[in-house]
Symmetry: D2
Subunit: 349 residues, 4 copies
């Protein structure tokens, strides 16, 4: 895989990474004669069956090409236009999707809450649930709690941490959405199985992302049994949003290869390990400190301007984050030697 | 390409056809190391440069995976929420996109007009332009004229036919949108060059579709100079609609291969030729008659129930159309022997 | 009431007429101390009780100040964003509300049908119901049939004429909306009772307008039992649309006086009689012909430019209509001498 | 005015108060013959001229019946669908309008900020302006700062306090909206003149509310010169939202009487004085403490359950507020003896 690494120390984003070759091979294999359009093809059916095994439950799903589309579609069938969605103040759906949730829901309100390491603070959640009534005609009622796992600080909610937030929300009648753009990374990190980290924890819908973990562009909006009644509405909105691809087999084929032989978990395990190594190495240098635990494939550190410039001069790619930290993202194709080279670059004062 | 033809006489839709192998090869070649996300990659830039040559003009564009998304995004930057879009009563944007134009525009109104062979009747267009005022606060003003070329009856508007409709619309200040899901087929059929059939005819935006003509899922919303001021708005809406793919290089790569060496025109030329042969053959049988001229890759014929059943029994795939006719669609991979076999099946009473 | 008639031959619109004094008196009487806000006042309750008697059924309602708001709110709880509303091509909701139905429904599609005298043609309705499927994910399904009674050509649907249209629509599962901005005029004209011309004919919702018939600004969105399940949604949308007035008692008071002693019917009866006289008189002049039957308080006639200028020079107010005819509207306060004076003016060549 | 006071110690809300008799008299006087519809009447013109004098500037305006409608319409012409509106966490537009701003803007995002006494904290505002970029395609850019004056804790922003917030916002290019549902109360309280508290402070639009201060239902959306280019858009949205009343003269007449002889300021001055007296009296009792300064016609106090029950038993009307305090609202018709009687009731243990 040498030629893939034209920029070996690229830690900018897992979206700049290439796709895993097996997924492209599966797409090529899927390019075999005619196939029903719009998701009625046999590969889509096979993926659905496989996901039922993976999640140990009945479920329904639609595919999209982007995580923004997946989140917005899921939220649009869980929250009415006049309702509110509770999320973390740094949630991707709040800050990084240009208002797609508002657009697809028809104007639902996002209620952003603070909390350390991008985990919603439980006390603030309780306050919000108590202050925003469900049945007062003047006030948008919270109808959905959205949690990102892996979250925007690269941290994973454990099963217990999910319970502490989902419990009070469900007691008020809210639906639960999980933004799983990096769900595989959270699975590997927590050691939980897919069911325990989703529907058994109370999730009604999970957006399962493959794009950041080896796919070309493949996401799935999964409705668990508690939300399956919304499947027809989901398909309608998928179509109306321009996300019902004609030749859907090529998205399905990516998932097919990604799930086969637990490739998805292996890729996430590798990315997580690279991030752990990178985080550990960075934090041993001078006054560099980890800003958040490294639960997945993202490392956030405090970094002096001098250190930052030295790294960039050496060709190490990363981003300054809005909170002042520096973010490094690893991926399925990050190599140990790239991590080591970056750490060496940092040392060379 | 034998294995592609598991259902050799499939004329159901060009969306059931496979992709041309060269596009998959280009995607595989594009899977080479890291690349900037969201359309900032070098392949996207190359496609933009190539399209400027093809259309002999400056232009801006964004990619999408689906034609519905492309049309809806284009219309959303041409028409305000309180305006109206004139289209044919059988237009794809009116009947086949589950209200995506209404969704993306924020509630614009579609004004459907009749007209033979799915071409908007010029007199009805004039009436509508006169009856629906531009500046009366109570009435949604027509702000866009949308024309499909190739259209929904498989017919092509010639340059003169475009002028007869675009002229009066532009005189009232309307913007012009062309749904070019099968634009290549219209180009081949009319013999016009891309510029003459788009911006030189007055089009402000063209949705150029590759999916039905050899791609896996690749469409481009093109803004010509008269609409380029809307480019930032278009990108914002692309993002907000979930259509700004992270790994955009893989959509760009499809266009890159499709446009190279005029592959796109060759594929369309072949599909058109197959349709012409099929149409001619069908119409020589019994009382079968062409419902519309066969300008592109679609054949519409009157077909008795007995004939229809005979064809279906022989494994020929086609659809009954809402107007009572039967629609047969050819594609880049339709073979002459498939056409001949279908015609033989029809004869065997 | 002399001072009201500063422009005695004003037939421009019933919206330019003053309010009936009894309604202002009722508002003044309602201005008595504190009252619960947002519709929880006792006058609102009294109107609800009175409307149940008038319509001989249980029902739910909300008030608005404008007919556009009433129609849009009613449609928004009957039609999903991805559905379609069948209406006449000249319907107020289609041509005269700046897309309010599209706005409040979140982008539903209006399907305009032709038909003589602004009555939807039954055969065209059947075609549309057959061509637009209910369960095809790609196509917006018709979900509502909207009928105006009195309609936009000043004609009334009889009970039988309603049945001919509502029957096939309900057979496909559509909901029925009646735009009753001039419902009282239709009642008087047809001689039908309120129940027979609404819910017994199949209507799920009626927008009952008082503004054009003596009120300052008062409309009611009525949900009959078949749609009462939508009442909470209707209230939410009323609030969200800015139509839940804080001091609602003043809208309720208008309805209270309007319904008392059948004032509403008396006012409509007078307006209709004036229109009939005016129409008869106009059509006896030269080549003037009635364009539509005069069922209510609107007269549409063909009028030469010379006749039109003569009338205008004499101070007779009316509008040229988009179809080329001239529209004269009478109201509760039109006097017989105004009608006579207008006819005299026409004669004086 | 005895009969108005059927519930003399009603401090529930200024929306439960009656209208000032002069406004009803003006409506009755306006009911004089025919008048142009939809705001083209001479009373509307007179109010516009008067407001130009009051605000010492050119301006444009539309009327609505409700404050929710006024705010939503103003915001809809200041903020694009994909933008964000910064407001206080307790703002009426955020908590009490059922998402009307989101609905009318087409899905703009509200960014709620904390701050003592319902005044936006300046440091938090700066953080938000810095963290939320203007030109990053993925993130909704803040485009409007909305300030309520009088605000939701009954406090007034002084001219200097406005400057401290509007300055940094305008430096980033934001538009400024003032929710002036109780603007007259803020004027009286601060002693500022209307211009200094609005456009000279940087406001682009002011929603001037009369309903809570003596009107039946009358609000004005004012566009100052910096936003007058949006007037046509505002009228279109007023119509599309169902807020362009046919007989607009009756809303205009309310404003006409309200502004005459500075009645509006006199009514506010009285209400403020009653609140000051009530607040002072309440806070002298036991452990009752003012939760916020009493700048206008609202008093917020800490109140033990025992005290609250005693007041309610005596017939004193007020509301428990979400933050645990008790809110008492005075109005133009609150009498000194009602205030005194409530204070006596509190003392009688």
């Amino acid at each position: 895989m040498g030629p893939l690494h034209v920029q070996p120390m690229n830690f900018l984003s897992d979206t700049t990474a290439p796709a895993h070759p097996k997924l492209l091979e599966a797409m090529t294999a899927a390019n075999d004669g005619f196939a029903p359009s719009y998701g009625a093809d046999p590969i889509s059916a096979r993926v659905e069956a496989r996901l039922k095994e993976v999640f140990e439950t009945d479920l329904k799903l639609v595919f999209t090409h982007s995580g923004t589309a997946a989140n917005a579609l899921a939220l649009s069938v869980l929250c009415p236009p006049h309702g509110a969605i509770i999320c973390h103040d740094e949630a991707h759906i709040h800050r990084d999707e240009r208002g797609a949730p508002e657009f697809f829901t028809g104007g639902a309100k996002l209620l952003p809450l603070k909390g350390e390491h991008a985990k919603i603070d439980v006390a603030l959640l309780d306050d919000t649930l108590n202050q925003w009534p469900q049945d007062f005609v003047h006030t948008p009622p919270p109808r959905v709690l959205s949690l990102s796992n892996l979250n925007e600080s690269g941290c994973a909610y454990s099963v217990d941490e999910l319970a502490a937030r989902i419990g009070p929300a469900k007691a008020k009648g809210l639906k639960i959405h999980i933004d799983g753009a990096r769900f595989a990374n959270a699975l590997v990190s927590t050691g939980a199985n897919p069911a325990d980290l989703s529907w058994r924890a109370g999730a009604d819908s999970l957006c399962l992302g493959a794009t950041k973990n080896g796919a070309l562009g493949a996401e799935a909006v999964i409705l668990f049994p508690s939300a399956m009644v919304q499947f027809e509405a989901l398909q309608i909105r998928q179509k109306r949003g321009g996300h019902m691809a004609a030749k859907m087999r090529f998205v399905a084929a990516q998932f097919d290869a990604w799930l086969a032989d637990d490739l998805w978990l292996g890729l996430a395990r590798h990315a997580n390990a690279m991030a752990r190594d990178l985080g550990k190495g960075l934090s041993q240098h001078g006054d560099v400190e980890l800003a958040h635990p490294t639960d997945g494939n993202e490392v956030f550190v405090s970094l002096s301007d001098a250190d930052a410039q030295r790294l960039q001069a050496a060709g190490v790619g990363f981003y300054r984050w809005p909170d002042g930290s520096a973010r490094f993202v690893t991926s399925w194709c990050t190599r140990k030697e790239d991590v080591d080279a970056a750490l060496v670059a940092l040392q060379q004062a």
